[in-house]
């Protein structure tokens, strides 16, 4: 494997990590601040992608679709909060898991009824259709670079919001000790709603970004949700910084594992066995990494919650 190929794979891993971060950021806040397990976070990513597909088809422009899909995702998140999640904050985790799982089923089926079962496509924005030749015969799509840039900018904005603003301070305080914040006279329910809506919008944003490179289809968020949970557990529940680093770590481990593992296995095994074992091992790799990290740091890399 050449150095260029390794660099390209690093870039691929980075881009996956960025998408994961956008999903995991909302999830970790909701889980951390409200102690609320929201399995339906993945469908909010899907809903964002569907909004993008819908608005792109209506307006014919990706940028307009992005502009319209973000508030739509926010409103949709708030609507879900109002209709369903609000009534679950005081219930135990099992009730939350059950109810939010129900939301997954309803929404997956719902988008199918509205948009049909066939995958939809969102065209690339015109300005970002090309690619940069990173190695012989391979273009790195400009759009993927834009995802990395957009994700990093969002991460910076989030850092600023959480670390430098009053709301951010309340969010951090809420993640550390929510009852105490409420006792100090902060309307914790409203804070929850803000955090929830914002998290839903971030997941929706990830969906919009992913729509032009991945197919928009029912259930598209379900697999990413599992990875997002891995990310927030590794990063430490409630920690934005942890989610960011863990997302990049998971993205890189997943991508590099997939590309290197079969070659690595070839050192010990016959080619056909190496392919099978390599493919199997690489899909396990992030879970192995998670287990290893949790063995040394049971609360994740950057624990937030006061124990």
């Amino acid at each position: 494997m050449s150095t260029t190929l390794l660099l390209v794979q690093g870039l691929n891993g980075l881009q996956l990590g960025i998408l994961l971060f956008l999903i995991a950021a909302g999830l970790t806040l909701v889980f951390g601040v409200m102690d609320f397990i929201n399995l339906a976070h993945g469908v909010q990513y899907m809903v964002g992608a569907y909004f993008a597909a819908f608005f792109a088809a209506q307006t014919g422009s990706f940028w307009l679709a992005l502009l319209l899909a973000l508030p739509a995702a926010l409103l949709f998140g708030l609507l879900l909060e109002f209709l369903v999640f609000r009534h679950l904050y005081d219930r135990d985790h099992m009730a939350q898991v059950l109810a939010t799982f129900g939301v997954i089923l309803v929404l997956n089926q719902g988008v199918k009824m509205v948009f049909g079962a066939a995958p939809l496509q969102v065209p690339l924005p015109d300005a970002l259709t090309g690619g940069i030749r990173v190695m012989e015969g391979l273009l790195y799509p400009t759009y993927r670079l834009a995802i990395i840039a957009g994700g990093l900018a969002t991460a910076g904005l989030l850092w600023w919001l959480v670390e430098r603003t009053k709301v951010g301070m309340l969010v951090r305080a809420g993640a550390t000790n929510a009852p105490m914040v409420a006792a100090l006279g902060v309307d914790i329910r409203r804070l929850f709603m803000v955090v929830f809506g914002f998290g839903a919008m971030l997941a929706g944003f990830a969906g919009v970004l992913a729509a032009p490179i991945l197919s928009v289809e029912p259930g598209m968020g379900d697999n990413l949700l599992i990875l997002a949970f891995v990310v927030i557990v590794i990063g430490g529940i409630g920690s934005i910084r942890g989610a960011f680093l863990a997302a990049l770590l998971v993205g890189l481990v997943e991508t590099l594992g997939r590309s290197l593992m079969p070659d690595l296995m070839r050192l010990f095994l016959s080619p056909s066995e190496a392919r099978q074992v390599g493919a199997a091992l690489s899909s396990m790799l992030i879970y192995i990494a998670m287990a290893a990290i949790l063995a040394f740091r049971p609360a994740g890399l950057f624990p937030v919650r006061a124990s």
Binding site: A117, P119, E217, R258, S259, R275, A279
Partner: protein
């Protein structure tokens, strides 16, 4: 009708199922033929099931809702792509709703699950898509017919096509599960050149950027792949975006009309191995495609075409027996005769109840109206019997 079913249910409750069988036989001739149509209609793969259902329904419409001169009723069953759900629903269709024949099934695992319950009830099962090789070989069954293909055949078509095109180095990429490994094996059964590498990806993988970089680094003469449904949408678009479009894209079940609307321009010029395309020049096909698009407003895929054929197959068979569905031997012979005009042109059943038919190399094209379809390029196999037929010792029904 409703009342009679009510009475029948009460009788069944009171006297057991044997009492119920009597009046049913007596009115068998007058009652409509009942077809249980099994397709996946929920979940991510539902678009394939929708093609299948719409294809069969169009066939019924063209036959004016009659099969072989008798009125017909179609009971649509959503298998949910869950074998347990499929078995429960199909059992109910046979035992409670008294379906005379079960038709459909997109996925092989669903077919494998309902195979025994249906055939052991001495009910004919006609697969319009799924064609796992065991059922064509040692596991062939007197109550089972397939109007589609053996799964491996489409892959072998691409292997032969790659061989014919003179590609010397081919890379293979498929999902890491049984059908994916079968696809690679099917391709290699006909391809004699060098396989540079085989990549197996998790079934849930959405982003192929890491694999595309590996393909670009290996610079093969062509790529062979099998990525059904949404996997194919992602792969095709990312393949094009990564600038790999100049490496010929050979595939099976990856670029077809079920996913082309989402793949769009990215898929144009990509190859697939198939039994059927909307462009095959025969009258039956022209009418099918025209009316299908007219009624459902999308371009049919082979799932729809095979299902449409199956409606005409049933019609021809029931006509042959004079409407009699009770004599299983006569009905079997009538189905096996395949005395109908297929949208594929050539169509006959082999000894293992799988089709003997042509296979085509097809290429994706954009039509003048902006829609996408596969167009046949050249015939790769002429009137071919599947390689598993020789292993079949068809038991007498």
């Amino acid at each position: 009708m409703t009342m009679r079913i009510e009475l029948g249910r009460r009788a069944a409750l009171g006297l057991g199922a044997s009492a119920l069988a009597m009046p049913l036989v007596a009115r068998a001739q007058a009652a409509p033929v009942k077809v249980g149509l099994v397709a996946v209609l929920t979940g991510p793969q539902a678009s394939l099931g929708t093609h299948l259902r719409d294809g069969f329904m169009l066939g019924m419409r063209h036959l004016e809702n009659r099969l072989g001169g008798r009125g017909a009723e179609v009971l649509v069953i959503d298998d949910e792509l869950r074998p347990d759900a499929a078995v429960t629903k199909v059992r109910a269709a046979i035992e409670r709703d008294r379906c005379d024949v079960i038709v459909g099934v997109v996925f092989s695992n669903i077919l494998a699950a309902i195979m025994r319950p249906v055939t052991e009830a001495q009910t004919f099962l006609i697969s319009t898509n799924a064609g796992p090789s065991p059922f064509a070989g040692r596991g062939c069954n007197p109550f089972f017919f397939a109007t589609s293909y053996v799964n491996d055949q489409n892959h072998a078509v691409m292997g032969q096509a790659a061989q014919d095109a003179g590609y010397r180095r081919v890379m293979i990429m498929t999902p890491n599960y049984q059908a994916g490994r079968d696809a690679a094996a099917g391709f290699k059964s006909r391809y004699r050149g060098e396989v540079v590498d085989e990549i197996y990806t998790p079934l849930t993988q959405l982003d192929f950027s890491a694999e595309l970089a590996r393909i670009a680094a290996a610079r093969p003469d062509a790529l062979f792949t099998f990525m059904p449904g949404g996997l194919g949408v992602n792969l095709v678009r990312q393949y094009r975006q990564a600038g790999l479009g100049n490496i010929p894209f050979l595939s099976a079940f990856t670029v077809d009309e079920a996913v082309l609307p989402a793949q769009g321009d990215a898929a144009v010029g990509f190859f697939t191995g198939t039994t059927w395309t909307p462009t095959l020049p025969n009258e039956q096909n022209a009418r099918f495609v025209r009316d299908f698009e007219g009624q459902f407003n999308y371009v049919p895929a082979s799932y729809a075409a095979h299902a449409y054929d199956s409606a005409f197959l049933l019609d021809s068979a029931i006509r042959r027996t004079g409407g009699n569905m009770a004599d299983k031997g006569a009905l079997r012979a009538a189905i096996k005769a395949a005395d109908f005009r297929s949208v594929r042109g050539n169509f006959a059943f082999g000894a293992n109840h799988f089709p003997v038919q042509d296979f085509w190399l097809a290429k994706v094209a954009k039509r003048a109206d902006g829609k996408f379809q596969t167009e046949h390029e050249r015939k790769v196999f002429d009137n071919v019997t599947d390689p598993f037929a020789a292993e079949c010792r068809m038991p007498a029904g």
